[in-house]
């Protein structure tokens, strides 16, 4: 892991650094050794345009960013491994936790919602219609018992390759 400040980070204004510090304590915990890995990934999450070294167009207003750049907990893979329990608790409370890998955001921890594991009305309707179509087309099979089903559909044992 590199331990030099990235050129983009060095070019940030005091306000930008303050703003970043409020959003990502890890990023600002040691400004002199902010890794390009962390910065690049954070930059990727945020709007790149805001942090271009050539056009730092930020205004001294927090309102500008509310809604534009969501507040996220950002961790590298090794940090996440060390703090997984804490991060999961944060995610359960509704915080968005992003884990980066090779300098790019890779996965997001999110709360599992009940609707992720149930069916919507539309899915039930389509499933009903699909079942009717399958039955009408003769694409269903009837068995007298579960054992009969398992007997008739047992996968063939693969022949050992010679």
């Amino acid at each position: 892991m590199k331990t030099t400040s990235s050129p983009a980070f060095t070019a940030l204004t005091a306000f930008e650094k303050r703003w970043l510090a409020s959003r990502s304590p890890i990023l600002m915990s040691a400004p002199q050794v902010v890794t390009s890995l962390q910065y690049n990934a954070y930059e990727f999450i945020c709007h790149r345009a805001f942090f271009r070294t050539t056009t730092p167009q930020l205004h001294e207003s927090e309102e500008l960013f509310s809604g534009t750049i969501p507040g996220m907990k950002f961790r590298t893979l090794s940090e996440a491994k060390a703090q997984l329990g804490t991060l999961v608790r944060l995610a359960e409370k509704g915080e968005t936790v992003v884990i980066s890998r090779h300098g790019r955001p890779a996965v997001r921890l999110a709360v599992v919602r009940e609707e992720d594991f149930s069916l919507t009305d539309d899915e039930v309707r389509r499933l009903d219609a699909w079942t009717k179509r399958q039955r009408a087309a003769g694409r269903t099979h009837e068995y007298r018992s579960m054992d009969e089903l398992l007997q008739k559909n047992r996968p063939a044992r693969k022949k050992p390759s010679t």
Partner: protein
């Protein structure tokens, strides 16, 4: 209890390895007796209406419908495969 299957289910069942088939078979054998016994840890979960899913192994699920005299086995796959199936029908 009678059992009815869709071709998609049969295909998925035949495509399993023998080890995976044994896990699925074990879940299926317990299925007819699982209803009405909520504390039997059968892995059966109601999705909506008469549509249920039963866990068969760590990530494999069997989606089925309970009808009056039979179980209609609709689909076998992991969470993502079931989501994809529901999207494409």
């Amino acid at each position: 209890m009678k059992v009815e299957t869709t071709e998609a289910f049969d295909r998925a069942l035949r495509a399993l390895s023998l080890a995976d088939f044994d896990v699925v078979a074990s879940a299926l054998r317990k299925l007819p007796n699982a209803f009405g016994r909520p504390h039997a840890h059968s892995g059966v979960r109601k999705l909506r209406g008469q549509i249920y899913e039963v866990r068969a192994g760590l990530d494999r699920r069997i989606m089925f419908r309970k009808e009056r005299d039979r179980l209609l086995l609709l689909f076998l796959g992991n969470h993502d495969q079931i989501r994809r199936f529901l999207k494409n029908i």
